[in-house]
Amino acid sequence: MRYAVFILLLICTQAGKAQSLPAFEGKDTGAMIKASYLYNFSKLIDWPTEHKTGNFVISVMGGGNLHQELVKRYNDKQVGSQQIEIRKIAKTLNISDCHVLYIGSEFSDFLPEVVKALEKRPTLIVSDADQGLAKGAALNFVVDETQLKFELNIKNATNRDLFIGSTIRSLATKVE
C-alpha cells in the first residue's frame, strides 16, 4: 500500500515538472509594421527618373529597432530595379542623398530643421511625431486605437517631385 502511494507521489511530481511556462517571443511588432510600411511606401511612390538608378536608399534616424528590422527583412529586396540599401544615421543635418528618410519620435523636435536642410531634395520624409505633417513630413505614423496607421500631406511630397500613388492616398487616415 505504502509502495503504491510512493509511486503515485513520484508520478505526480514528475507530471508536475512536465509542464513549463512558455517563452515570450519578444518581437517589436511596431518596428516590424513600420518597416513593412516603409518598404511599401517605396513601391507605391514615384521618384524622378534620375533617381531610379543605383541603390534605393532608406535612411533611419532613431526609431529603436526599426533599422534592425529593415536590415533583417528588407536588405535583399528591390524597389523596381534598384537594390535596397539601409543606412542608420545619427542626429545630423548633414544627410547624404537618400530616397526615404525616417525620423524617429525621439527626434521629432529636430524634424523641422531636417526638412529645411533637405531643401527640395526628392526625399520622402516619414515621421513619427505629433504634428509631423505640419513640421514638414510627407507621411507621418499615427496610432489609431491599437493599430499603427499613417497620414499624408501630398504637398510635402509633390514639393520634392515625388508622386504619391492612389493606393497610399486611399489608405491614409488623413490626407492633407
Partner: protein, 307 residues
C-alpha cells in the same frame, strides 16, 4: 397409466435439475479452486480459462469471489505476461472484474484487496498518460486522454481521497504544454495544436480560475500568435499589411486580460510583469508600458541586490 407416466417423467426432470444444481454449485467452487491453483502456479492463461468458465456460468456470474480472483489473475497477466503494455486487454478485464466483485461483495470480504488492486491499475493508467504526453507523438495524443479518463474513472469509483481537481489541473497543464510544443515544431503542419493547447489551459481555468501557469500561458500564447503572424509582412502588399496588423493586434488584445489576471493573482511574478510590459508596448499604450517597465527594473534591481 398415462397420468402416472407423466408424473414419473416430471419427477425425473425435477430430480435431475436438483442434482444438476448441486453439481453445478460444486463445479463453481471446484473451478474457482482450480483457477486459484493455476494462478498460484503463475499459469495465468490456464487460470484465466478456468475463471472465465466460472464467470460465464449463471451461478458463477453472481459470485464475488470469482470476480475477485478473475481480477487478480488478469492483473497479474497484465503485469507479468504483457509487461504492463498500455495496449493490454488484460488490464481492462482486470478492472471490470474487480469492480464487478465489489458490486457483488455485500459483506465487503474482498473490498480492501479489490481497492488496492484498482489503485495500482489506476496509477499505471496515470503513468501511461504521462508517457504519451512526454513522447509528444501526434498520433498517440488521443491515447493520453483515454488513459487519463480510465485513471480518473477508477479513482472516482473506488472513492479514493485523492484530490481529483489537482490531478485534472496537472494533466491539463501537461497536455497544454505538449500540444504547444507540437505546434511549435511546425506551425503550419501542426496548426490545430495551437487551439488544442489553449483549450487545455482553459480547462484548467474551469477548475481553478486563478491558476497562474494557465493564465500566464494563455497570455503568452495569444501574444506570440499575434506577433508571429507579422513574420509574413515582408511578402505582403500594403492592404494586406493593414489587414494582418489588425489580426495581430486583435490576438495581442486577447492576451491582455489573461496576463492582467495572472499579474493580479501573483503581482510578484516577474514573468507577468514582463508580459504586461511587452503587451502594452505592442498595443502602443506607452503609459502602461512605462509603468510595468519601471516596476520590472525595480524588481530586477532588488533581485541583483540579493545576489
Amino acid at each position: 397409466m398415462k397420468r402416472n407416466q407423466t408424473i414419473w417423467i416430471l419427477m425425473c426432470i425435477f430430480l435431475l435439475m436438483a442434482g444438476g444444481n448441486t453439481l453445478r454449485a460444486q463445479n463453481v467452487e471446484e473451478l474457482i479452486r482450480r483457477a486459484y491453483v493455476k494462478y498460484d502456479d503463475k499459469d495465468y492463461q490456464g487460470a484465466a480459462a478456468e475463471i472465465d468458465a466460472v464467470t460465464d456460468m449463471k451461478k458463477g456470474a453472481g459470485n464475488p469471489l470469482a470476480w475477485h480472483i478473475k481480477g487478480f489473475i488478469y492483473k497479474d497477466m497484465f503485469v507479468h505476461e504483457d509487461g504492463q503494455n498500455p495496449k493490454s486487454k488484460a488490464r481492462e478485464v482486470a478492472v471490470d472484474a474487480l469492480f464487478k466483485s465489489m458490486e457483488l461483495d455485500s459483506d465487503d470480504d474482498f473490498k480492501a484487496n479489490n481497492i488496492n488492486a484498482l489503485k495500482f491499475l489506476a496509477s499505471i493508467y496515470f503513468n501511461d498518460a504521462r508517457d504519451v504526453i512526454e513522447a509528444r507523438n501526434k498520433q498517440d495524443m488521443p491515447l493520453a486522454d483515454h488513459y487519463y479518463a480510465q485513471y480518473r474513472t477508477i479513482t472516482e469509483r473506488i472513492g479514493s481521497d485523492e484530490n481529483l481537481d489537482e490531478k485534472d489541473i496537472m494533466y491539463y497543464l501537461a497536455m497544454a504544454t505538449a500540444c504547444r510544443k507540437i505546434y511549435e515544431t511546425d506551425r503550419e503542419d501542426n496548426a490545430e495544436y495551437y487551439e488544442k493547447s489553449n483549450a487545455f489551459y482553459k480547462k484548467v481555468l474551469d477548475v481553478d480560475p486563478d491558476n497562474f501557469p494557465a493564465l500566464y500561458s494563455l497570455g503568452v500564447s495569444y501574444y506570440n500568435k499575434g506577433a508571429s503572424n507579422l513574420e509574413k509582412l515582408p511578402e505582403l502588399d500594403i492592404q494586406d499589411v493593414i489587414r494582418t496588423q489588425g489580426e495581430s493586434m486583435q490576438a495581442i488584445q486577447v492576451a491582455l486580460p489573461f496576463m492582467l489576471k495572472a499579474y493580479e493573482v501573483n503581482p510578484e511574478r516577474i514573468e507577468a510583469i514582463k508580459g504586461l510590459k511587452y503587451i502594452h508596448f505592442n498595443l502602443h499604450d506607452h503609459e502602461k508600458h512605462e509603468f510595468f517597465n519601471e516596476k520590472l527594473e525595480m524588481m530586477e534591481k532588488e533581485e541583483s541586490g540579493k545576489d
